[in-house]
Amino acid sequence: MADGTDTASKIVSLRELAALVPDGASVALGGSFLHRGPFAFVRELIRQRRIGLEIVKQSPGYDLDVLCRAGAVAKAYTGIVAMEGNFGLAPWYRRAVERKEIELEENACYSLTSRLRAAAYGVPFQPVAGLHGSDIPALNGWKEIPDPYGSGRSVWVVPALSPDFAVLHAPEVSEHGDVRILGTPHWDRIMSRAAKRVLVVAERIAPMESFREHPEKTLVPHFMVEAVAVQPQGAWPGSCHPDYAIDYPAVEHYMSEAESTLQAHLERAPELRGSSRD
């Protein structure tokens, strides 16, 4: 396994962190829509010209969209994709699907979660409630299994999905790599359990003492985390609770169709200020 038991040298630069993910890797991204996504990490993947990625996320938005805009994506496993707020659909993702530039596995958020659960629980498939009457199961070739205990019910089952990486953005980590999320963890918990390797970008390192005082708040224990980069404002232009809210003007700028926008947007990013990227 990716050895997270050695706590000595887990803190790396954002550049080093992104360099761990090769072309073609499958990557689960934490957060939801414009909230607490590993967006600095995603931009760094673009700067490093990564291609062929498979993105796994129940509710992506900006992250999947900017990766599609940069041509970095081969396939997406998603539940619901949108920019949210008043920004509507994720336009570059939308076009990438419509032009068949990327492959899409459309899920319910919960069926994708169930695929991750199967991986986290070490079983080949996971039953999912609901889905009856939806065209989605047939689309994906999923199987329906009758209850072997004679209830007369049948249930859809989905196959295990273990992404190569889960990449999470957190407000706080310990020096050993323990990950603390404040407010909702969105889907980060199950992603961290299902993925083969866990990478984290954090706003800051919080004192060990605070982790020992509130161990119940730690979402991912250090031994499951391979490497951490510290990047203040790393979820920009999204929010990172409790530190900052969505930067709506920056999102609006991103939404501009102009050819030069992507480059300009990438150059505005907080990870280019200061030295934390390196």
């Binding site: 619901i80 009457g133 939806s134 065209d135 407010g183 909702t184």
Partner: protein
């Protein structure tokens, strides 16, 4: 108690399509409900917050920000904003509220939809053929699982037309079917497996509602929609004090 349902109210101020949708969504909340609003769902978020402020019965409001009966200082632009967990005594995260719904303990789910058919089934996936999309829509999200498992699901469309209330969905994202639908001009409620007209906006006619609906609409027993109470009006005004949500929604009746 407010005024009896059938009494024609004094004409006061016009009822904007925005207020009509939010208020009538809120009216789906019943005492004791566990009610949920998700991502990309400003109208549903406002409806839940309105119900908390306008109605004096207890219910639990949970949302995709992990909040349980939160006390947000304001209604955020993003319906998954951390503000929706402010002052919450617990964080009820995504796996938890989906499991709650999956095991049949979610009383009321608010879910978005692009197309809705007569059975209340929804399409939020695609316009056109799934494999040859004209428009790729947000996708499965909550609908496919929550529609068949929540006790009642309700949705809204900001456009009431034969494009949104359709005879045949381009794709069935969510089976099971909505219990209630609110548009700028009407409230539809399911009875015996089909959406029927429950009430209509006082400014339109039943014929107009029928004409603008893509599936056959039973109107028997329907009545004009009860106008907003003072409490509902005041609650919505407090949630959208400068009319930003109303302007951004750009709804035409």
């Amino acid at each position: 108690m407010t005024e009896p349902l059938k009494t024609q109210p004094l004409k006061t101020e016009p009822w904007s399509p925005f207020s009509y949708i939010v208020t009538n969504l809120a009216r789906f909340v019943e005492p004791g409900d566990v009610a949920f609003s998700g991502v990309n769902s400003s109208m549903a978020m406002l409806a839940c917050l309105l119900a908390k402020r306008a109605y004096d019965f207890p219910f639990t409001y949970i949302n995709v920000a992990g909040g349980v009966d939160p006390e947000p200082r304001y209604a955020p632009l993003s319906s998954s904003d951390p503000e929706l967990a402010r002052e919450s005594a617990s964080i009820f995260a995504n796996e938890d509220f989906y499991d709650l719904c999956a095991r049949g303990r979610m009383d009321l789910c608010f879910l978005g939809a692009a197309q809705i058919d007569a059975q209340g089934r929804t399409n939020v996936s695609v316009i056109g053929d799934w494999h040859e999309p004209k428009v790729r829509l947000p996708g499965g999200g909550g609908a496919a699982v929550m529609l068949p498992t929540a006790r009642r699901s309700c949705t809204w469309r900001t456009e009431h037309s034969t494009r949104t209330l359709v005879d045949r969905l381009d794709f069935i994202t969510g089976g099971g079917g909505m219990y209630g639908v609110v548009t700028p001009i009407a409230v539809l409620v399911k009875r015996d497996g089909r959406l029927r007209l429950d009430s209509w906006h006082p400014d339109v006619t039943v014929d107009e509602v029928v004409d603008r609906t893509g599936f056959e609409l039973d109107t028997s027993g329907a009545a004009p929609t009860r106008p907003p109470t003072e409490a509902e009006r005041a609650a919505l005004a407090s949630l959208d004090p400068d009319g930003t949500f109303e302007r951004d929604a750009k709804i035409r009746g």
